[in-house]
């Protein structure tokens, strides 16, 4: 840990289960201490971070796949380039973030192999099929907007290597957001068919985005907050997203599909219809959606066909690329 806590020696000196050290560790976290990869840390902290960071990296890879489907179909040469550039960034982010998980002891290859074998977890929003250029607008504006809200919060996470990587990721995500906004504005101000295309996509993405932040868990009950990974509750993030993005949609004349959605000025918060949380559980933990199964199938096929390339590049499997 950083200077706020005394050095505690190499991580493998002691198993990460010493109750006294764990208590001191938690106390230091509460005081805002940052943890470096060589610091002693409780097993729970290590495992929670690995799970969280692995899911984040997986999501960057799986998030690249729905958008890449549209590079070939982009409606202008300018959009074709900018979408390729954006997806390229996502792939780069995945690698940076996998390295953070690796610094906690989880090999990159294992994470990647699990992901393409269909055993890795990733964000719900990347399980869905895309139907139109309106989906590209929604992914770029609404989904990336939601990602920015949660990723900015990670600048305050306790694991220092993660913070360093997130500084760069968040800077690039802001560019992605502008790319998404630009696509959205073009559709919103375009022909009636384009507007309709956008409205339909917003209707499709509404529930996935409400799901994205997770169900409302009290601060004291959320292990990610207790262990200093997250600093804000799911509901705080969802509220922030709604405050930032819903008025923008409304300004453009786009309808939000939840009739109960309104800002309660007295309470200082948004009211909305609770999404179906069983459906979220089914998406994330159940049988892969058709879109996910098909994307993983192609990913596996390409992977198997290219073992020989990994062998000659570094003499080992380099397959962490998405």
């Amino acid at each position: 840990m950083s200077s706020t806590m005394s050095p505690t020696g190499p991580q493998h000196d002691t198993a990460g289960t010493d109750p006294a050290r764990e208590a001191a560790f938690l106390e230091a976290l509460d005081e805002g201490a940052k943890v470096e990869s060589g610091d002693w840390m409780p097993d729970t902290y290590r495992q929670l971070n690995i799970r969280f960071i692995e899911m984040h990296a997986n999501s960057e890879i799986m998030g690249a796949l729905p958008e890449r489907e549209w590079i070939a179909r982009a409606p202008t040469l300018k959009r074709k380039r900018s979408l390729a550039a954006k997806v390229q960034d996502e792939v780069g982010h995945a690698h940076l973030i996998y390295r953070v998980a690796e610094s906690l002891g989880r090999p990159r290859k294992d994470m990647y192999d699990d992901l393409i074998a269909g055993k890795g977890k990733f964000h719900n929003v990347f399980h869905y099929p895309t139907y139109s250029w309106g989906d590209v607008a929604c992914i770029g504006f609404l989904v990336d907007g939601a990602a920015i809200v949660t990723q900015r919060a990670l600048l305050e996470t306790s694991y220092a290597p993660y913070v360093r990587v997130m500084k760069r990721v968040v800077a690039e995500e802001s560019l992605h957001y502008r790319h998404g906004e630009d696509i959205l504005l073009a559709l919103a101000s375009g022909t009636d068919e384009q507007f309709e295309m956008l409205q339909e996509a917003v209707n499709r993405w509404w529930e996935p985005i409400m799901h994205f932040f997770g169900n409302d868990i009290a601060r004291e009950d959320d292990p990610s907050i207790r262990w200093g990974i997250k600093t804000r509750t799911n509901e705080e993030s969802r509220q922030e997203w709604m405050s930032t993005y819903v008025p923008k949609l409304w300004d453009l004349g786009i309808e939000t599909p939840d009739p109960a959605l309104r800002y309660d000025a007295d309470a200082g918060q948004w009211d909305y219809t609770e999404p179906d949380w069983d459906r979220l559980r089914e998406i994330v933990k159940g049988t892969p959606t058709e879109a996910t199964a098909s994307r993983l199938y192609w990913r596996q096929l390409l992977h198997r066909h290219h073992d020989w390339i990994h062998d000659i590049v570094v003499g080992e499997d380099l397959s962490t690329a998405a």
């Binding site: 202008t76 040469l77 390729a84 550039a85 390229q88 384009q194 290219h306 390339i309 062998d311 000659i312």
Partner: protein, 268 residues
């Protein structure tokens, strides 16, 4: 807001040559973007994404030359997309080798190697073009192409020295690609009369084949040199006249142009 889409005359020899060069880049870029998100390594994912973006940008700049300096802003964007995405399949002038699917990474790298050599030779010629607009763009693009050239040559060496398996795969891939790559040297209609590409497309053949043959021999691929000195297979001929294979008419073209076609005049 409605923008009048400029429609330059594409039937002049000058326009036909520019289309051939630009369409080679556009279709190459379109196929390169296949690897974005799914390449066999991070480095290659990033590399082919960059190649895709650069190639599409090269096409864009050349379409801009076709539109002329007087066309700018929104009008220029509309004009570029009308040329790039708005023609019928037989209006495209790229070599058929560009439209072939990526197949696998060996095939992709084999095509990348010979295509980059053609592009380098062509830009060298274009930099000497008496057409000042064309020469200026060629000079600009040459700088970018240096990195693609290094990347392509790096892989040529890596694969032919990378053990029996990789060498065999690359040899097979080059065997497929090289005969079809002769399609790059087909002339477009009226090319003899056009002064913008000194020597014309047929004139590039000697330069490219000399250089490629030297590398192939140095790699011990002597048996492949004959392919470059042979004839263009009939199934890969005619790209410069707008004859394309099912790989273009049934795959690249419908996918690449659909949104543009279905929503005429829309801005995106």
């Amino acid at each position: 807001m409605s923008v009048t889409t400029p429609r330059p005359d594409l039937d002049t020899p000058r326009a036909q040559v520019l289309l051939a060069i630009a369409d080679d880049a556009l279709v190459t870029g379109h196929r390169a973007s296949h690897w974005t998100g799914v390449a066999p390594s991070l480095e290659e994912d990033l590399a082919f994404s960059t190649i895709a973006q650069d190639a599409i940008n090269h096409a864009d700049l050349l379409y801009q030359v076709l539109l002329g300096a007087a066309v700018s802003g929104e009008q220029q964007r509309a004009g570029v997309d009308a040329i790039g995405l708005g023609r019928e399949p037989d209006g495209y002038r790229h070599a058929i080798v560009c439209e072939r699917p990526p197949i696998d990474f060996a095939r992709t790298l084999a095509r990348h190697w010979i295509t980059t050599r053609v592009e380098v030779a062509r830009l060298d010629a274009l930099r000497r073009s008496p057409d000042a607009d064309v020469a200026a763009v060629a000079t600009k693009l040459s700088h970018e192409l240096r990195y693609h050239r290094e990347h392509a040559e790096h892989w040529f060496t890596t694969l032919h020295t990378g053990g029996a398996d990789a060498r065999e795969r690359f040899h097979t891939a080059l065997g497929h690609v090289l005969p079809e790559a002769l399609g790059f040297f087909e002339p477009v209609d009226g090319e003899d009369a056009s002064a913008i590409l000194p020597g014309g497309h047929p004139g590039l053949r000697d330069v490219v084949v000399d250089g490629a043959a030297t590398s192939l021999r140095a790699a011990g691929f002597d048996d492949l040199v004959g392919l470059l000195e042979g004839d263009l297979p009939a199934e890969a001929a005619g790209g410069r006249r707008g004859r394309h294979s099912q790989d273009f008419t049934g795959d690249v073209w419908p996918e690449m142009t659909e949104l543009h076609r279905v929503h005429p005049g829309a801005r995106w």
